[in-house]
Subunit: 337 residues, 2 copies
DNA sequence: CGAATTTTCGGAAACGTTTCCGAAGAAAAC
DNA sequence: GTTTTCTTCGGAAACGTTTCCGAAAATTCG
């Protein structure tokens, strides 16, 4: 359709290869011819066809990004981190929503590979381990995002969810709470699993007995928070504090509390996880564990392009970032009766 | 790297073209040879290289998506709409954040075209009209998203922002409010412009005098809502109702109101725009104009692939969707003193 | 059974690049 | 002035497909 390298070559009266070299190499072409060529390029608005180029160089300067749901504020912030950093390095990104569905994940991976993306950044469900083994075996560059897998063969960037859960819970315990509940996240994810582990560890460490804490299984959504809070209202010996696996969940719980007329944090303290934008908007402002979301995305692409450039010379790095407790208004000391 | 069509051809003892036909056409190849080939394909895990294919067919089955900020819940919902619909139709999508920066927009468009995406869905700033003319002239398939441009040569899907602003304002007026303020959106966007128009129209229609309404210029962010509300507190003859150009802005205003101790909606009614998820989470629940976000994305890709298939046989369609007033808790009748 | 038609397939060009190799000419060395 | 070395360039192969064209084989028809 557009203007091609042949057109430029013809116009400049040189061969195709000379034009190519003029555009890529810095040597091996005369100064005046280069100038002439570049001028033509400018005039004609020539842009090399990356597909043709990719065919021979095996590099498309495109990376794939697979996340469960890009409308989830947690992932959308990661996505902008990925996109911005990628663009700065000359890459562009194809994204796919997986809905945490292993079937869609598999499909997306296959599609992306067929499209010859240079590498993949993915936040996969635990069911997709087999698929990951394939990717590894084929030597396809991959960095795991947010969700760790056991294999040490693949690069990853993730947060230390276990100590994050531990610190969140400890915050509650140190305030004096002794009846705790954890709203868990999607059990298919490693991070939900780890946060729960952290909760349990803290609770054990403080010597709480089995009837002093409980775990409500849920997922990361607002609806889950609403539902779980409703459930909580029905039990006797109501807890004085909640550790929600996500801010969305926590915000849902706060809304439900408001509607049920239970005062936050006076009657029940709530701590969330992630520090998404809503967290500081909701009243009371949500105490939460802040994830370095933007940074997660950034580091992921750093790791990936390093791998793309070095090949597999270096062993894969596994970055684990720490979260940060940000205390706002939704947690306080328990009421003394 | 992987297994190529030649390998399959060799294994099957047929020519390359036969393998190609076996995979694409439904005729022109014997039933038994086809079966043999397909079996090999399965065994060897062969997937055609889309880049090579795209080179000859000029179709990559990839579309570009340019939005100002994918972490904005409005756009992220649109994004899942386009991604899901695109995937259903066999396309994948490359996305770019433009930050409403014409420079980045230009860059992204050039990059996307070099990558030979089949078409483009974009939500561009008004400054990029010149660029659009180029795209049109080059016959590059484009559908304008959410933001209209004057040209009728390009397909578009957008909401009727003017009547949306009109209806929102009318809602306030019908409740009895007579001192109104509009928090405007990013002036670089057409939609902000149109909503403001709608506000003005309604306000004139109800015969408000110049000192009974005002417009505070801002943008679509939470911070803008907070800042503008602070500004509002300083004026005498405080308005009794606000029409905010976006929910984010409205939510910011509600938070600021909460902090300043002004009761919503008793002292000031607020209506937002978009109906993003936060709107129903915040207390009081936000009255707002619901945009069919997911649908916007869906229709955009429908329009685009229709164009991709038909070529420019059909004239470009311009879909304009209507918003819907959803009344929640943040608006009520004005207090009578 | 021969001719006409249909089915099934292979060869080759093409898509737009990059890159290897070698050649021609200019500059440097002797 | 001849040989050697650089510099600058062109030719051609290659990347992995699709698709056009034509040929061989198989089928149908009279």
């Amino acid at each position: 359709m557009g203007v091609t390298i042949k057109d430029i070559a013809k116009l400049a009266g040189v061969s195709v290869s000379t034009v190519s070299r003029a555009m890529n190499d810095t040597f091996d072409v005369g100064a005046d011819t280069r100038k002439r060529i570049m001028q033509l390029v400018e005039e004609q608005g020539y842009r090399p066809n990356n597909m043709a180029r990719g065919l021979v160089t095996q590099k498309l300067y495109t990376i794939g990004l697979i996340v469960p749901d890009i409308s989830n504020p947690f992932f959308s912030e990661i996505a902008v981190g990925v996109e911005k950093r990628a663009r700065a390095l000359g890459y562009s990104v194809i994204f796919c929503n997986s809905d945490n569905d292993p079937e869609i994940e598999r499909e997306s991976i296959a599609m992306l590979r067929g499209k010859m993306v240079d590498g993949l950044i993915a936040s996969l469900s635990r069911e997709s381990f087999a698929e990951l083994a394939n990717i590894e075996a084929a030597g396809f560059p991959l960095v795991q995002l947010d969700r760790s897998i056991e294999s040490t063969k693949t690069a990853s960037v993730l947060v230390d969810n276990q100590t994050s859960g531990y610190i969140a819970t400890k915050h509650l315990l140190e305030l004096g709470h002794r009846r705790l509940i954890h709203f868990s996240g999607n059990h298919a994810t490693q991070s939900a699993h780890d946060r729960k582990k952290g909760f349990e560890k803290a609770v054990r460490e403080y010597g709480l007995s089995d009837n002093e804490f409980a775990i409500f299984e849920g997922n990361f959504t607002v609806e889950s928070g609403i539902r779980l809070f409703g459930q909580l209202l029905k039990i006797d010996n109501r807890p004085t504090a909640i550790f929600a696996a996500s801010d969305l969940q926590a915000v849902g719980a706060i809304a439900a509390a408001f509607d049920a007329g239970v005062a936050i944090p006076e009657e029940i303290s709530i701590i969330g996880h992630d520090d998404v934008p809503i967290a500081s908007l909701v009243r009371p402002r949500l105490t939460t564990m802040a994830q370095p979301k933007y940074k997660l995305g950034e580091i992921a692409v750093n790791l990936l392009v390093r791998r793309l450039i070095d090949g597999s010379a270096q062993p894969p790095e596994n970055h684990v970032l720490q979260t940060e407790l940000v205390v706002r208004q939704s947690t306080t000391v328990p009421r003394t009766y």
